[in-house]
């Protein structure tokens, strides 16, 4: 079956295109939209990996809440297009090629590594074990302390946002 492969490459192309658009776009809203594109493509990839719940959470939290906040703030401030500044010559002529070289090297290493050749079993295979029930059991038994810690983190974040957003006297 070629189906999963086609879906994978379609989503991969969408994700990479979204990431490139994020860089190229000068209007912040366009950047936000392209990031949403990346997130939706990744959610489909999670589905392909058989992680239904993660996929849904990705859409609800990232695309449905965090990015809405971004769009909201961009609309609220409405500062218009981004200023272009000339970054340093060294970065332009040395940094970018070096970065690409590093990327290709890391990609090659990942591709040839031992873990890389393992087949990512996902939707349709026998071991679709990532059911929501198993995931919640893991989360609320083994990782209970971490879970509580993140809830404290969220509380601190709420307080921080409140203090920052409060009208200064």
């Amino acid at each position: 079956m070629m189906g999963p492969l086609i879906v994978f490459f379609a989503c991969a192309v969408l994700a990479v295109a979204g990431a490139i658009l994020l860089i190229l776009a000068r209007e912040p809203i366009h950047s936000a939209l392209s990031l949403i594109l990346v997130m939706v493509a990744l959610a489909i990839l999670y589905l392909l990996l058989g992680a239904e719940f993660i996929s849904a959470v990705q859409i609800i939290v990232y695309a449905g809440a965090v990015m809405v906040l971004f769009v909201f703030v961009i609309m609220l401030l409405n500062f218009g297009v981004e200023e272009r500044t000339d970054f340093s010559k060294l970065a332009k002529y040395v940094g970018v090629p070096l970065g690409f070289f590093l990327l290709i090297e890391v990609a090659r290493w990942l591709y040839e590594s031992r873990i890389g050749s393992v087949v990512a079993s996902g939707a349709g295979t026998v071991t679709v074990a990532a059911s929501t029930r198993d995931l919640s059991a893991e989360l609320f038994r083994q990782y209970l302390f971490n879970f509580e810690a993140t809830s404290i983190l969220i509380l601190v974040a709420i307080l921080g946002a409140l203090v920052l957003a409060r009208k200064s006297q």
Binding site: F70, L77, A165
Partner: protein, 101 residues
């Protein structure tokens, strides 16, 4: 079924790299923030792929924590952005070169 983990890892690496590039090149604070989110997303993809490869759920649980941290970060970060916009009347990161106004 026939997709090896390496494909996901390479995609994750590419997305992370693009996130770094965006982080360095973007001048708008909000866009810089978004590039951080892009990097976190790339890492999440690698986590889920590893989790499937090892047939263990720990990777997916970690993705939850990453998402929670990203949401908390967005809340505080955007509050800071709004403060900055009110105080400097610009969103350009290069204008934010003083610790105090």
């Amino acid at each position: 079924m026939i997709i090896p983990v390496s494909y996901y890892l390479v995609l994750s690496g590419i997305l992370f790299g693009l996130g770094v590039v965006a982080f360095i090149f973007k001048r708008n604070v909000i866009a810089v923030f978004m590039s951080i989110e892009l990097m976190l997303n790339a890492v999440n993809l690698a986590f889920v792929a590893f989790s499937r490869a090892h047939q263990q759920l720990d990777g997916m649980v970690f993705v939850f924590f990453v998402i929670v941290v990203a949401a908390a970060e967005a809340a505080v970060g955007l509050a800071i952005v709004i403060m900055m916009a009110q105080n400097r009347e610009s969103l350009n990161v290069e204008r934010v070169n003083l610790l105090k106004l």
